[in-house]
C-alpha cells in the first residue's frame, strides 16, 4: 500500500492503495467516479480513456504509481452539465446508442481537438481507432467531432 495525492479534475484526491492499481479502478472503486468505463483492461478498447496532462491515456493500463504530479481529467471533469463543446456536439448528433463506450470516445475526441482543432477524416480515424463502439455509432462520432471542431 502507498499513499498518493492525485490531482483529478482540478481537485486533490487522497488514496492509500496498492501502487500497481490501474487508475481505472482507483477512479471507479476508490473515488466513486464511475464515468470512466471498463471494457477490456488491456488498452484495446478505449472505454477507460482519461487525460493525463491533456493527453488521452487508457486508464486500465496506467498504474496509480505512474501518475506522479500529473493532472488527470475524467469525463466528470469536462463539465458538470454537459456544456463542453464536445459533449454538446454529442447531444446535437444524438450519438449514443447503449452509451457505454461514449465517455471514452468523448475523452479521445477532446484530446484530439486540443492537439488538432481542425482534424480531417483521416486524422479522426487515426485518433479514434483505439476506441471501439460495439453499437456502431462511428459515423455520428465523426460528425460530432466535426461539429465540435467548428466551436
Amino acid at each position: 500500500m502507498a499513499k498518493y495525492n492525485l490531482k483529478i479534475n482540478g481537485k486533490i484526491r487522497k488514496v492509500d492503495i496498492d501502487p500497481s492499481t490501474p487508475m481505472l479502478w482507483v477512479l471507479r472503486d476508490h473515488l466513486d467516479m464511475p464515468g470512466t468505463k471498463y471494457g477490456c483492461g488491456m488498452a484495446q478498447c478505449g472505454a477507460c480513456t482519461v487525460h493525463l496532462d491533456g493527453t488521452a491515456v487508457r486508464s486500465c493500463s496506467l498504474p496509480v504509481s505512474a501518475i506522479g504530479k500529473g493532472a488527470i481529467t475524467t469525463i466528470e471533469g469536462l463539465s458538470e452539465n454537459g456544456t463542453h463543446p464536445v459533449q454538446k456536439a454529442w447531444i446535437e448528433h444524438d450519438v449514443a446508442q447503449c452509451g457505454y463506450c461514449q465517455s471514452g470516445q468523448i475523452m479521445s475526441a477532446v484530446a484530439l481537438l486540443k492537439e488538432n482543432p481542425k482534424p480531417t477524416d483521416a486524422d479522426i480515424d487515426n485518433a479514434m481507432s483505439g476506441n471501439i463502439c460495439r453499437c456502431g455509432t462511428y459515423l455520428r462520432i465523426k460528425e460530432a467531432i466535426k461539429t465540435a471542431s467548428k466551436n
Binding site: 477490456c40 463539465s79 444524438d94 463506450c101 481507432s129
Partner: protein, 749 residues
Amino acid sequence: MENKNTQSRRSFLKSSALTGGGLMLSFTWLSSFKSADKMATLNLPEQWAELNGYIKITPDNVIKIVCPNPEFGQNVMTSLPMIVAEELDADWKNVVVEMGVHDNVKLGPQFTGGSNSVKMYWKPLRNAGASARQMLIEAAAQTWGVPATEITTKGGVLSHSSGKTAKYGEMASKAATITVPKDVKLKAVKDFSIVSKSQKNSEGLKVVTGKPLFGMDYRVEGMLIAMIQHPPAFGMKLKSFDASQALKMPGIKDIHSFKLYDDDYAQAGFDTRTFNEMIAIVGNSTWEVMNARKKLKVQWEAAGDVKETVNGRGGKKEITVPARLETTSKQLELMEEYAKKPAQQLRKDGDPEAAFKNAATIIERTYNAPFLAHNCMEPMNFFAHVQADKALVAGPVQAPGWIEPTLMKVLNLPADKIEIQMTRMGGGFGRRAYGQFAYEAARISQKMKAPIKLIYTREDDMTYGIYRPMYTATYRAALDVNKNLIGFHIKGGGIPENPVHANRFPAGAVDNYLAEGWEIPSNVTIGAFRAPRSNFNAAAEQSFLDEVAEAMGKDPIKLRLDLLKRAKENPVGKNNEYDAARYVGVLELLKEKSGWGKPENAGKKRGVAAYFCHNSYAGHVVDLVMRDGQPYVESVTSAIDCGVVVNPDAAINMVQGAVVDGIGNSFYGALTHKDGVAEQNNFHNYRMIRHNEAPKKIDVHFVQNEIDPTGLGEPPFPPVFGAVANALFKATGKRFYNQPFKMETEKKV
C-alpha cells in the same frame, strides 16, 4: 445508482398493482426517486398524481412517464415514452422519463429482445396515454361544469370554448380519482405531433456527462466485489482447488466454489448452463480480486457426458451434453459429415426431387459461419443483496421476468420477496436475455450474507459461451433449359442448432421447394444473437440468390422482384411468413435511392441484399472499394419497412449501427476453439470493427406507411452480410462462402 429507498418504492408499486390493471387512482407521495437531469431544471415537487402505471403528473405540470422495458441502446427510454406522450397530448418538453422496476403486473412483459419493444407496447402505451388524457378531460369537465366533449387538449393544456384553460398539472389530482375509461379513441397517424418526429435520447445528457447508469456502475454502501473462475474449456469441470495463497492476498474476504443450479434443477428456456460449478473470489475491490484470482490453484477435469433436464418451450426433456472437447477444424469436418446424412424435412412444396432430376442446370453452394461472441461493450455483471427473507438484484438484463422464476428457485424465495431493478445495459444483442450472471451473483451474495457486485472481466465474458451458433447450409437451385428457376433446396445445420427458416422467401415463390435441417449437440453454449438464425440465413441465401441471378442472366434485384411477384399473385404452399408486397416495397425503394442500374453507378463494386425478419423488411446496397489492397465498404444505402417509425433520427442511428455491426461481423467476427478452449479472449485477438473501417456514409430510408410498428433492432443486421459478400464478388471476382470474409480475403485475394 445507489438507491437507499428501494423498499419504499417497491411497496408503493405493489400496492398500486393491487388495484388491478395497474391503475392507482389516488395521490401518491414519492420521496425516494432520484432526480433526472431534466427534473432538476423543472423545479421538482414531491407530489405526483398517478393516472396509470406509466404516467404521473405533478401539480407543477411535470409529466413523468415510466419506461417499462430495459434499455440496451435501442433507445426505448425515448421511443416508448414518446408513444405515451403522443396520446396524452403532453408537451414533450415537460416530460421526464424514468426506468420502471420489474413489475409485470403493472408494466407488462418488460422484455427487450426480438425487436419487440415498440411492437408489443404500441397499443398498450397508446391506450395508457389516451385514457389518462380522457381522465384529465373528465376532471376539467367536472371542475368547470361543462360537457367533456367540449374540451380539447394540446401540449398539456386543457381548453374549453368558453376560454377556460388549465394545465394538466392543475387537473391531475382530480383526474386520478376518475374511473378509468374503457374505450378510448386513438389518434390518426397523420395527427401525430411527437411520434414520427425526431426526439433526442432522454438519457443523452447523462451518457455524455458520465453519470452512473450501467450495471457496472451500481454501488451500495458495504458492497463487495466478486468474480468467478469458470473452467478454462467447454467440457471441463472443477475437480479441486487450493485457495490458500489467494486468500492471503490483500482485501480478499472469501473464496468458495458454488453450483449455479441444484443438481435436480430443470432449466427453463433461458437458463443456459455453461458451467455448473465455479469458484467465487470475493473481496473489497476489483483490482484486489483480480490479483487474488491469479493465485488460485485449480485442478480441472473432463466433465464427460452430462445429463441435464431442460424444461423449455417444448416441454420437459432429458438431454445429454456431449463430452467432446471442441476444436474448430474438427467441428467443420463434423458439419461436413452431418450435411451428407439424411436430415429432418422442414417444408416441402411440389416435387423438388423431380425438379432437380429434370434440371438443365443445378447450382449448389455451401456456406459456413463461425460462433460469434456478443462482446457487449459492458461485460456481464450483476448486483445482488440476498438476505434471509428477501433479495434485491439489480443490473443489466433484457428480460427481468424470465430471471425471476429461476431466482425464486435458486434462492428459495417467493416472487414478492425478490426485487429486480433494471439498469441501463452497455449493449445486449441477445446475450443479456440469459440471466445466469444474476443467479451467480445471487448465489454469491447469499453465501457472503452481504451485498456483492459480480463482475466478469472481458476474458470471462468472451470465454463463457452463449455464442451465436456455428452454422452451415447448402443451397441448391434447379434451372430449366430456359433458365427458369424450377426448384430450390436448402439443407442447413449447425452446432448445436439448425439455422433454417423454412417458411421464408424464396419459399412461396418456387413451385418445387425443399427445406431440411440437422443439428449437432455440443457443450459450447449458444444464445440469441442479434436476429438469431436470420443473421446467417440472410448471408447464405442472399449470396446464393446473387449467383442464381448471374446464372439466369438476370439483374439480382429483378430476380427477387420476379420471385416476389409470383409469391404475391400466386403463392406456393402455406405458412409463408412474409408479406411479398412489403418486401417489394423495400426493394423498389432501395433501387430508387441507391440509383441501382443507373449509368453513373456502373463502375461501382456494388452488392445488394434484402431480408425479412422480426416482422420487418430491410435491404442494403453496399459500395465496396479496394483500399491498400483490402476491401473496404465505403458507403451503404439502406431501405427499411418497419411500419410507423416512432423516432426517426434514433431509428436511423440504429440502422447505421446494424450496418456497421454487420460489416464488422462479416469481415472479422469469429470465435474459434482448440480442445474446448475459446481461442479468442479479448479485443487483441477478437477483431472488432473500428472507426477507420466504418463506412463514410450510410443513407437510411424508410418506407412511409401507417402500419403499426414492427421491429427495427434486428432486421437491418442480417442482410448486411449478404450485401457485403455480393459486393466482394464484384470487387475481387471471387465468391465468398465462409465467414469471416476478412480471413478469406487475406487467403485468396
